[in-house]
């Protein structure tokens, strides 16, 4: 490749470029940076200072050390599919893109583990090993393009985490570049229970604020011997919700238990993967059972009978793998499908105790009426993880703000019934203020205390995850002054 000279007066761009083996692996022109001004959360945009593309842990470490030494804000980014704005450069950060670190380093089927670089795409891992009878369990809807590094940062979930757990339950070890540029191994070569505080568990889901993951040891699982999926249509959403509870109460642990309401069905049927769901039903349930083939039929029978007891209009098991795959494609592209019925949409991610489903759905309906915005509901009903999708039109002045407020109101409902504000998308910048729905100032401070152990100068991904403490402190100070004054 022909060597080009960097056309900028920014001495740090020159400085960073010098640290890269490929001196051109850096973007700094405004027109190149625009693609990096947001991630999957498109409501807030902000330009980075530069984007660098390291190929190795050592390069990442050199860049981080440079940023640390020169007090430059920086953050890591994978495929940019995050839905809460965790990779948005709020402070003109240097973005360290990990998409070039995408090697599958090792597969050890005997010991059920694989080692990948952070830019390795989630679904690729399963595709690599499925023929040999294995797979990687966490399956976020974006798995065909999201990276495992990003999954670690967000502690990503997916439709099948009801039975198999989320990302944190599948991470055995990490290599991490700390915010001062030091490289550390965490989780001792993937051996369970390495003595010491569980940094592995702490870093998973820390939204890129404690360090930059450069290598990941993941657990892989054996393919289940059998698998069957049931589809059930309900005329009344409460019957559908009750069926969910009944299935769980019957002692069945489905691999997945998904639900979509009428508006969501309208969306998925208008989009690229329609399967012919009736338009006039109130809810569809998608229930998947997997495991030893000999035990599956009985469980399917039980599920069918539970649904019938709850006034199901139609319930049946998938005829073949093709039909099963079509149902799942229809469901997994559900968020994007909203684009077919609305110019813009905002995805929310609350979690509630399963038993509160009917109550929460009623209250979300009320929020929809209050704000005059349609809200579609797609959810992992089995674990109570709701995804209300607020449909709006950003071209109408004020409607974006209204959508954000409606989304926040949905999260308040989730928190009020004993749930939480995010089950798998993360807090990012989107839900910082909503953290106060579930944590006290003291509890938030306990978390930022831990951040300061790793991220001493807060140069790494600042402004994410936590509500701004300064505002709170200032308010308190002001009040104190008033009282004293």
């Amino acid at each position: 490749m022909k060597k080009k000279k960097l056309k900028t007066n920014d001495r740090h761009i020159h400085g960073l470029s010098q640290l890269l083996n490929d001196k051109q692996a850096i973007l700094y022109h405004k027109e190149d940076l625009i693609s990096y001004d947001c991630d999957g959360f498109t409501i807030h945009k902000s330009l980075p200072r530069a984007v660098v593309f390291p190929h190795s842990t050592e390069e990442v470490a050199r860049i981080v050390k440079y940023c640390h030494d020169h007090a430059l804000p920086f953050l890591a980014r994978g495929a940019g599919t995050g839905l809460s704005g965790g990779a948005i450069p709020l402070n003109n950060e240097v973005i360290i893109s990990l998409v070039k670190m995408k090697r599958l380093i090792d597969i050890d089927l005997d010991n059920r583990r694989a080692v990948v670089e952070p830019g390795y795409v989630n679904l690729k891992l399963t595709n690599q090993i499925i023929e040999r009878g294995y797979y990687y369990a966490p399956d976020p809807s974006s798995q065909y393009c999201c990276t495992i590094g990003g999954n670690v940062a967000e502690n990503a979930g997916g439709a099948h985490c009801l039975k198999y757990g989320v990302t944190t339950n599948h991470i055995l070890g990490l290599e991490l570049v700390l915010p001062n540029g030091e490289i550390v191994e965490i989780g001792g070569n993937g051996v369970l229970d390495e003595p010491g505080y569980d940094l592995l568990g702490l870093i998973t889901g820390s939204e890129g604020t404690l360090g930059i993951v450069t290598k990941i040891i993941v657990r892989i699982l054996k393919n289940p011997e059998g698998k069957q999926t049931v589809l059930a249509y309900f005329d009344d959403i409460e019957d559908g919700s009750q069926a969910v509870s009944d299935i769980i109460s019957a002692g069945i642990v489905p691999a997945a238990l998904e639900m979509m309401d009428k508006t969501a069905i309208e969306g998925v049927e208008a989009a690229s993967f329609p399967v012919g769901h009736p338009k006039d039903i109130a809810a569809v349930l998608l229930i998947e059972v997997d495991g030893i083939a000999a035990g599956i039929d009985d469980q399917i029978e039980q599920i069918l009978s539970v649904c019938r007891n709850r006034n199901v209009r139609e319930v049946r098991a998938a005829k073949n793998e093709q039909e099963r795959a079509a149902w799942w494609a229809n469901r997994k592209t559900g968020f994007g499908a909203m684009g077919a019925i609305s110019p813009d949409y905002l995805v929310q991610d609350g979690v509630i105790p399963r038993s509160k489903l009917p109550e929460v759905l009623r209250r979300i309906n009320k929020i929809s009426e209050e704000y005059g915005l349609r809200i579609a509901n797609i959810f992992h009903a089995g674990d109570g993880n709701l995804h209300p999708l607020v449909l709006f039109d950003a071209r109408i002045p004020g409607e974006t703000e209204k959508a954000l407020a409606a989304g926040s109101a949905c999260l308040k409902v989730c928190a009020d019934v004993g749930g939480t504000i995010t089950g798998e998308h993360g807090v990012g910048i989107e839900k910082r203020e909503e953290m106060r729905f579930v944590f006290t100032d003291e509890e938030i401070a306990a978390q930022t205390d831990i951040r300061s152990v790793f991220n001493t100068d807060n140069l790494l991904n600042a402004g994410k995850l936590f509500p701004s403490p300064s505002r709170c402190a200032e308010v308190k100070k002001e009040m104190k002054e008033k009282i004293i004054g």
Partner: protein
Amino acid sequence: MNDVLSIAEYLTTNKLEYEMTEPDLFGNSGQYTVYPTSEEELSALFAFVHMHQFTVNIQGTGSKRGYGGLIDQADLLISMEKFTGIVEHHSGDMTLTVKAGTKLEDVQRYLEAFNQKLALDPFMPYVSTIGGVIGSNDSGPKRLNYGSARDAVIGLRVVYPDGKVIRTGGKVVKNVAGYDMNKLFISSMGTLGVITEVTVKLRPLAKSTATCIISFQGEDRNKIYSFTRKLLNNSIEPISCELLDPVVSYEISGINKLSLLVSFEDVEKSVDYQIKYIQSLVEEEMKLTVLRNNEEKQLWDRLYQLPFDKGPEHDKDEKLFAVAKIGTINLNVIDILLKVMEIRKKDNIDIYTHGGVGHGLMQLYIKGKEREMIETLTKIRNITNENGGYCIVKHLPLAQRLVFDTWGETKGAQYLLEGIKTKVDPKKILNRKRYVGGI
């Protein structure tokens, strides 16, 4: 002396139940033992000890007093033994909140009535409290399928060393709001705070269970290895796949052979099918025994009670008893187990072990006089380090812990652990020197 008196005064004035305690073999005790029953009491007590910089040790029933720690007595020992009871159980949501001093066995017995269980199988469940199990992240052979406390716990209430009460996680089964602070306290050996309440997710009780004992004729490494691989590289879904040396196998099943303990929990048809599958897999020179119902339960009970230390006063040779935990990459369990058997023969020492070939965690027991015990532990640690793993000591008297480091060498990230400890417990009053590298 004045200090100690003022603790007694505080306890008396605040009508807390307490007693004076003598030092004992295992250390980690306190000059006084106090039995709080509420979070308010604990929070106020910590505010007091924090202000005066009194040192505090913490325990459940004390079954892990031989697990780490370099201090004989702190100023005060807080026993959570009386901090018990179910707080909330949402059967339909499959979540349970329980006070930290509740014994694991009591939790399981309560849940049985609802056809539910807490999927955890730590050792000594009849005496271990849920707080202790979480604090040490203890798990047994069924870790293979159950996971451990780090997979089951969804929320905690923790009293910090300065008395403030912090909630971590929540009460729902899926939650990524903020850092996963639960993980910080799970396996922290009580060095960061006192867990008062625990919220866990539950699982349905299996409709059917069975345990297969597959005994090998000899100790041929290659045969065991290839059979184990064949067993694991398969669609069956064992709950445990634990390799037992002949001593452990004899102790719990009466079969004096190197054996694999493979258990199943599922609907009846699935369990039956998997047993048949094992039957088809078992080779001529192996023997298969299938246990169900009471026999099965008794076998597991005996295994979980192996770490129970009757104490040197019950041993006519006054031998000490040690329990160690080994972590390695899954199939390395086979080699380590065979090496332990070699040591037993060669050194003529009473050592026995078992370990999970699907998760790489082993439990090891040694009975012996001080010198031979330390020598053996050193050998074992060297073997595990060579195999890319670790060996820590779960049970050993204080005098020997001072000679043989419970945790082994500290790793590169030690300063992060120290940083966390300093942030949470800047005065270092809680479980001082209990954990890795003296944190």
